[in-house]
């Protein structure tokens, strides 16, 4: 127990490490010292995450913010593991990736800040800590996205920022309303409070919570920033953006929604529909892409759709939630690691000569297959877990969902095939040779991905799905292989025009522009200025006239004869008026 406490308490320095390093980066004197450490900033947290005993690690900091609660349950631990692992790998990867960059220090600062935010939002169990971590991560990630300063990056950054702010505010309202009504400060209490809340308030909180976190999680319709932002960032940043940070939205749902407490069928169905839409829509658009990183971003949308759907199922069936939750967590872990590996690999794929490229390309197969849910990969396990729980869903869904999930697996597999096609080794060799600093962390990540199913089969109850699962997960891959073969044969793939990244963004923009017209600050102030100028002219005229009148009257009153006349009048009035008053008073 004691040693467990000690191990648990490693978490705190682990969380604070990136923050501390980020601060130290600020001082010119310590910067040089800190710089070599930054790639390893996530390592303490990773170690802590591994050594942690879930549910026991709990600290209460009443003075922090409005009362902070730090702690982890099993789900949290999985999220933390995923996150720390990805950040560690990306950090190390980035060290070499950005060796040439002039903005390396800047990158690291934002990298560390996002990392800190990401960790904080996972480990805090109170609203404020979560919100703080969420904000820190979101705002700092802007620095990662626009790292290149290319026009595309800046545009992506701008859209990202807008949506982030909107997300922040939605979340703020959701939290304020929930906390205001329930009086809760921790998520645990908040969920309970939300479960018993007046439906109107409840719906508002859930709507805003889903949308606010949904922006981060790439919820269908709010996903537009993702395909813009993920590709433009440097590879290690894309990896954490798509692998780790995107999960913050998911985690937000898990924390906020009264999952497992009450059934919210309407919301559940909404989420299922949105999730499914994203799952297919992401693939459909992704297939058209030519930029592998954009494609990966769409894949993320699609994969997050699956998880969204699972959350929706959870909302439908509170009793099944204890089972669904680990599934979602595992799916998140699987997707995060695979997606991270793919992004990192995509960053590597074009370096070196053909042979080197091919080696890397082959390496990419592992996460690609995992995502496609190929047998004996984490993907298979994850998909099966999810699918098995969908069977408990009420009427249409119990039949529909497993089917759709399988189709989605096929779709994902197709997308991965498309990815591998796009990243296939090129004949011409690139000047940049793949360096060990890039390869090693990537390879480490790959090995983790490869090992995960074997670790987790022990941890997760997978009995009853073992046998059919292999077949079940095999057919999409096989089908994909077939389709790919046909498509390659037909060579019609080339004709496909990519849908612009951000797809429905244009809709948003148009809507926004219509909305913004009357509120445009430029128009506003111009109208204001015109009004002011016009008023000024009138006023000036009036004042001039008044001044002239004033002088004139004073001249008049200053005349001896006039003044004396008034004196006479005054004497008479003073005498007369008093008589009048007395008259009134007397009679």
């Amino acid at each position: 127990m004691n040693s467990a406490m000690t191990l648990n308490s490693l978490l705190l320095p682990g969380i604070l490490c990136p923050l501390l390093l980020a601060c130290l980066m600020g001082f010119r004197t310590t910067r040089a010292l800190v710089l070599p450490l930054t790639p390893w900033a996530a390592l303490p947290a990773l170690i802590a995450a591994c050594l942690l005993t879930p549910n026991e690690a709990r600290w209460h900091f009443p003075g922090l913010l409005l009362g902070s609660e730090i702690g982890l349950d099993a789900t949290g631990q999985i999220f933390l593991l995923l996150t720390t692992l990805l950040w560690t790998v990306s950090g190390i990867y980035a060290r070499s990736y950005l060796r040439q960059s002039t903005r390396r220090e800047e990158f690291y600062v934002f990298f560390l800040l996002s990392m800190a935010g990401n960790f904080i939002l996972i480990v805090t169990q109170d609203l404020f800590g979560f919100y703080f971590g969420f904000s820190l991560m979101s705002f700092a990630a802007y620095g990662l996205i626009i790292h290149d300063r290319s026009a595309a990056a800046l545009r992506a950054g701008r859209i990202y920022m807008m949506l982030t702010v909107v997300a922040e505010l939605m979340l703020f309202v959701a939290l304020v309303v929930a906390a205001g009504i329930s009086g809760a400060t921790t998520f645990e209490a908040l969920r309970v409070g939300l479960a018993v809340m007046d439906p109107a308030d409840q719906n508002l909180v859930i709507l805003l919570g889903i949308a606010g976190c949904g922006i981060k999680a790439g919820l269908f319709g709010l996903h537009v920033w993702l395909p813009l932002a993920h590709p433009v960032a440097p590879a290690p940043a894309s990896a954490v953006l798509s692998g780790a940070m995107i999960k913050a939205g998911l985690l937000g749902w898990l924390q906020l929604l009264p999952l497992g407490l009450i059934a919210l069928p309407d919301w559940g169905e909404v989420l299922i529909l949105l999730g499914l839409a994203a799952a297919f829509y992401g693939v459909a658009i992704g297939l058209t892409q030519r930029n592998p990183k954009t494609l990966l971003a769409y894949s993320s949308i699609s994969q997050m759709g699956v998880m969204t759907m699972a959350v929706g199922v959870g909302l439908l069936m509170p009793h099944a939630w204890p089972l669904i939750l680990p599934a979602i967590a595992f799916y998140a872990l699987h997707h995060g690691l695979s997606k991270g590996a793919l992004f990192l690999g995509a960053g590597l794929a074009r370096s070196g000569d053909y042979r080197q490229q091919r080696r890397i390309w082959l390496g990419l197969w592992l996460p690609a297959l995992a995502l496609a849910g190929a047998p004996w990969t984490s993907g298979m396990l994850a998909k099966q877990l999810i699918k098995s729980h969908t069977l408990y869903a009420p009427a249409p869904w119990d039949a529909l969902l497993p089917l759709l999930l399988s189709v989605s697996a096929l779709a994902t597999a197709l997308l991965m095939a498309r990815l591998l096609y796009l990243l296939r080794p090129a004949a011409r060799s690139s000047a940049a040779a793949p360096v060990a600093g890039l390869i090693i962390p990537w390879a480490a990540l790959l090995s983790v991905i490869a090992l995960i199913p074997w670790w987790f089969t022990a941890a997760i109850d997978t009995s009853g799905m073992r046998t059919e699962s292999v077949m079940d997960s095999l057919w999409p891959v096989m089908a994909t292989a077939a389709i790919t073969w046909i498509v390659l044969r037909l060579d019609s793939f080339r004709m496909l025009q990519p849908v612009p990244a951000g797809d429905i963004l244009a809709l948003w923009t148009r809507a926004f522009q219509r909305f913004r017209l009357p509120l445009d600050p430029g128009t506003f102030s111009a109208a204001w200025n015109t009004l002011q100028a016009r008023m000024k002219i009138h006023l000036t005229g009036f004042i001039m006239a008044a001044k002239a009148k004033l002088d004139q009257t004073e001249d008049y009153l200053s005349r001896w004869d006039v003044a004396l006349l008034y004196a006479i009048i005054m004497a008479m009035v003073a005498a007369g008026i008093s008589i009048g008053f007395i008259g009134i008073n007397t009679y």
Binding site: E554, S558, W560, L564, L565
Partner: protein, 102 residues
């Protein structure tokens, strides 16, 4: 009705006549004359009404007051005349200047 009232009425008439002139005439000298006439009017009222106590016993207090008043009046007149002359010397005319000299 004694002559007291008669003179007092004459006094008020003088006061008003003086006032009229004070208003109407621009020349300072006339204004000074007007002030003096007004003063005489006031004195007349003051002394005349003292006669109401009868033919023989007159109230001496208003008399003393008027003597004081006359001396004050002549002092004021002298100052006014001196001022008028000085003003005329500077401005070339003995009329009240307009408003202020700006």
């Amino acid at each position: 009705m004694t002559n007291a009232f008669l003179y007092a009425l004459a006094g008020s008439g003088l006061f008003v006549l003086g006032l009229h002139a004070l208003v109407m005439h621009a020349h300072v000298l006339r204004k000074i004359l007007a002030i003096n006439v007004m003063g005489s009017g006031v004195f007349l009222i003051l002394v005349a009404l003292a006669r109401r106590s009868g033919e023989t016993t007159t109230d001496p207090v208003p008399h003393a007051m008027v003597i004081t008043g006359i001396v004050v009046a002549v002092s004021a007149t002298a100052l006014a005349l001196a001022l008028m002359l000085k003003l005329a010397e500077k401005s070339g005319q003995a009329v009240l200047p307009d408003k202020h000299g700006d």
